[in-house]
Amino acid sequence: MIWQLDLLILILVVLCGIGAIMIRDLLGTAILFGAYSFMMCLLWAIMGAVDVAFTEASVGAGVSTVFFVATVYHTTRRTKD
Amino acid sequence: MEPLTSLKPLLAVLVSLGVVPILISSRSPNVREAWTFGAAGLKFLIVLSMLPAVLEGRELVCTLAQVLPGVAFRLRVDALGMLFALVASSLWITTSAYSIGYMRGLKEHGQTRYFCFFALALSATIGVAFSANLFTLYLFYEMLSFATYPLVTHHQDAKARHSGRKYLLYIVGGSIGLVLPAMVLAYHLSGTLEFSGQGFLPHSGSPILLGVLLFMFLFGFAKAAIMPVHAWLPAAMVAPTPVSALLHAVAVVKVGVFCILRVLTEVFGLDLLASLHLGTAVAYVAAFTIIAASLIALTQDELKRLLAFSTIGQLSYIVLGAALLSPKGLMGGMIHIAMHAFGKITLFFCAGAIFVATGKKNLSEMAGIGKRMPVTMAAFFIGALSIIGIPPGGGFLSKWYLVLGALEADQFPLLVVILVSSLLNAAYFMPIVYRAFFVGSRETTLPDTVSEAPIFCVAPLVVTALISLVLFFYPQPFLDLAELAVQTLIGGTGK
């Protein structure tokens, strides 16, 4: 495990997480959340949890994002915060 | 002597399951009331059938379920319970007859409901009488509280609702707020709730705790209407008269004092009370109630309210008798349960009969009524005699014993209280009788059409009045029972 890479991705994860809840557009939130999940997936792959990473890649970054987008499609992109 | 195991006490309680046929036959009033009578008669017979065994000094026991460690759901028939059960079950018969007359006379609604809850209430009363421990007692006490609520609020109007609230506030508030914790505390102290002649509370408990406990019981059993928890009783007068009669003479208030008797004698025990001087304290609380209630009764104009305050006073006689902690006083208290029951129920029946016949409730409107309703008012007179304690009213006997008890206990002030209150009783009853019979026809405001109430109303009150008289001359069964009860209580102390 390369700790520099590890730390970099950890920071990215936190940034994506904060971004996902701060951005004032729900579609953006959904996409950032997908990015967050993908970073997380990388992190887990680094930690040797390949199965978990695989799952997160397909579920968190894939299907979850699609679910979010579908929801935003049927509701609204507008958000106050 | 060994207690007998018997199902009879259970049967006596369960006979009131007659409510089921009552409910089913709600469409045909005659059948319904036949069931009521049947159940009442059967209950009386069952109770009576246990009398010989009890008079022999035996106890009948019936254990139903072990609900808590050391506490069973158990029925037991002893002398004191027998005395009370006899009174209650015999009065149910007369009250049923009276109810039929009254309810039909006034064309009340919801008669089926009325008879059902009446039966339930009686069942609970007998249950209280035959309880073998504090838990069973509490169970039936609560059952009675809730069974009488629909009776008290029978009219279903705003006034009834208000009185119902007051009734619940005092009765249920007392039983849950005070009796329940007191009971748990008693269980915590002694590990049992079973009544015993010497009381089951350990003598080693801290006196303050025991004192608090006693007063929790005393005021928690609010049905006994000891001041200051008496206010529900006058309020509950909105109920139909047979219910008032039941409340005052037979079931509710008597259950209250009966519970207090049990607590004083078989939870605490006379020795413990004497050693802590708690008896005297209770006696003075009772004495205050006696005097205060009689004074308030003097100011009342509505007949039923007057009777209510009279009841409050009379109940405290019973408590007073027990609190004297002397054999004679105890006997007086116990007999007073019976004597007051027959006397007071007569008075209530009369009040009801007057209402059915004339629609009048207030004393001021009743001048000259004795000429229109001679039988009723004669019965009223007898009842009043009994309550005041003038021979040949049965009440004389109980007062006699109370006075003896007070002397025995060297409580001179209490003796004075008893005598003064008797005078006060006379002061509020006698003017009624006087005005009923001895005012000129010019002063009466009653219309000419007024005559006696229907036969179903009059017959019961005649019967109860006669019983009051008979009890003066032949009080033997009650005296024997009371004596037996006192013996079991005192006998243990070796006096």
């Binding site: 996902a20 939130t29 997380m40 | -």
Partner: protein
């Protein structure tokens, strides 16, 4: 100082997970928008998963798949050579649970939106109070 540094370096992973978790929790509690809340909920869940996966890490170990053609007759498998697989198993389950929760939550969000035509919680509550 060195002590503190060691504490930080040895456990920074755990701290990051706590940070993420707090981000999620904050979004769940303080955000006004329902979808944002759901995102927060998911971040919260993934943070817990990160924590579990961190438990499983062993220095100098490889992924928990035994090499092919492993010669069992000659040498026993050394557990220290492989990452702890148990947390991974648990977290597979947890991920699935989180996506299931997400599906239900989003379905309900759509229902809420079509009843109140907004996703802002304060506006919804205002509508409820006014009706």
């Amino acid at each position: 100082m060195e002590e503190v540094l060691r504490l930080v370096v040895e456990r920074y992973n755990y701290w990051i997970y706590i940070t993420l978790m707090m981000i999620g929790l904050y979004a769940l509690i303080a955000k006004n928008n329902l979808v944002k809340k759901i995102v927060g909920m998911n971040i919260f869940q993934t943070a817990v998963i990160l924590f579990y996966v961190s438990i499983g890490v062993k220095k100098g170990a490889t992924i928990p798949i035994i090499e092919h053609n492993y010669d069992m007759a000659h040498q026993a498998i050394r557990a220290a050579d492989y990452v702890n697989p148990l947390p991974h198993v648990l977290m597979l389950t947890a991920i699935v649970v989180s996506v299931a929760t997400l599906g239900v939550a989003l379905a309900i969000t759509i229902m809420v939106y079509h009843r109140y035509l907004t996703l802002e919680e304060d506006e919804i509550l205002k509508q409820i109070r006014e009706s």
